[in-house]
């Protein structure tokens, strides 16, 4: 990825309607954003359609980007990810939250730590490693692969309500670690 400050300048020029800057932005960011949407949508054709819509949005929203809030690539990735998730959500049937009750009691803690991603240094990575491997994986599957609770329940072979309770509890732990 190009240096973030460099992307900041390019986005600023895009906001002023500079088409050559937009081309430059596309060249520098499209593979990353395509990676983001392909991982969520799984289908190459769908992902290509989505990517075009995403760059139309980026052109239109470039003026809203504020470099002090987040890095340029995070801002771009968020637009891509939200667009892909909107597509996935639109296809999904509405879920019924049968277990509106949020059960907080803990089940067998088995703090087997994930040592797989040793290259990562981010805070979230450190905190995810403190969760059980399965649960950290569930967070990643939701964020990076656009898994729904139902998808996660299927993947881990548990009822959806169990999945919810599981993940919500993990999210609270994660929050405490991140804070």
């Amino acid at each position: 990825m190009p240096a973030s400050s460099e992307l900041d300048g390019i986005i600023a020029r895009v906001a002023l309607g500079d088409r050559s800057a937009f081309r430059n932005l596309y060249d520098r960011s499209s593979a990353k954003l395509f990676g983001v949407v392909l991982r969520i949508l799984k289908d190459r054709h769908d992902a290509e359609e989505a990517l075009q819509d995403i760059y139309v949005k980026i052109w239109q929203r470039a003026g809203q980007y504020r470099p002090d809030n987040k890095s340029a690539i995070s801002w771009l990735a968020a637009i891509a990810r939200n667009h892909a998730l909107d597509m996935v959500r639109a296809r999904r049937p509405a879920t019924r939250d049968i277990d509106a009750a949020f059960e907080i009691e803990d089940d067998a803690p088995n703090p087997e730590e994930s040592a797989i991603r040793t290259g990562e240094t981010g805070r979230i990575d450190l905190c995810l490693r403190k969760l059980e491997v399965d649960r950290a994986e569930a967070v990643r599957l939701a964020y990076l692969d656009g898994f729904s609770y139902q998808d996660l329940a299927d993947r881990f072979g548990v009822p959806i309500n169990t999945m919810r309770t599981w993940l919500r509890r993990s999210l609270l732990k994660l929050r405490d670690c991140l804070s």
Partner: protein
């Protein structure tokens, strides 16, 4: 997902940021972000931490798509006219925002526009209308007391078989035609009563080049040759 009342906001914010909420709940959460600053900051907490996971996504080169994107944004037929109009206006708005430009225009304007008197009651707004890659430039003045827009062509040529047409574009609304206008000289356009409330700084005036007699169907079809937002004098 009707996340029950017993789901803490921290968890709801995380579920929103992860994309786990279904369409209806997601939409509800989006509305809450707008109205509830505490919830918004919880969501942002998660979004900023989760964004670190973006680094785990491997880049994948898509097939060449740029031409299609460019066509959708910039080619005359492929993007909807409204979309292009907004893009053009957005660019122009940024450029034209300077108060200096407005001040210079107003000084020059009184001399150009007959019938403009200072000291009359009612708001007065001016707009300078221009666009990239277009020679056509106009000055517009809205005199609320008279309920009239006075438009003066400053530069640009008439085009055989075409007419310039003036539009007012209220924020978030479709362009509304104010009729065909001359490129040279001044036109006075009385605003219909239902349009007067749109004559304010949130609206944009734009001129498009249309078939002779104006855009058929009251929807702009030609290129935006000049545009600018209204500013109070």
């Amino acid at each position: 997902m009707g996340a029950g009342p017993s789901v803490p906001d921290e968890v709801l914010a995380a579920e929103f940021a992860l994309g786990l909420l279904d369409a209806a709940a997601h939409q509800l959460a989006e509305q809450r972000i707008i109205s509830d600053a505490a919830f918004k900051s919880k969501v942002e907490f998660w979004q900023s931490h989760l964004a670190e996971l973006d680094a785990e996504v491997e880049p994948v080169t898509p097939r060449p798509l740029y031409a299609g994107i460019e066509a959708r944004l910039f080619a005359p037929k492929s993007a909807s006219l409204l979309e292009r109009l907004w893009n053009d206006l957005r660019v122009w708005r940024g450029v034209a925002a300077g108060a200096l430009a407005v001040a210079v225009l107003v000084v020059g304007f009184a001399a150009l526009v007959p019938g403009l008197q200072t000291g009359r009651t009612g708001e007065t707004y001016v707009a300078s209308l221009a666009a990239d890659q277009s020679e056509a430039k106009f000055l517009a003045l809205y005199d609320a007391a008279a309920g009239e827009v006075r438009l003066t062509g400053v530069s640009g040529e008439s085009v055989a078989g075409k007419d310039y047409e003036l539009w007012i574009i209220p924020e978030g609304k479709n362009p509304i035609s104010l009729g065909v206008v001359p490129i040279a000289g001044t036109a006075t356009i009385a605003l219909a009563n239902n349009l007067k409330s749109y004559a304010n700084p949130s609206s944009v005036l734009a001129v498009t080049l249309e078939p002779s007699g104006g855009a058929p169907g009251g929807i702009p079809t030609g290129p935006v040759v000049a545009a600018g937002s209204l500013a109070a004098v």
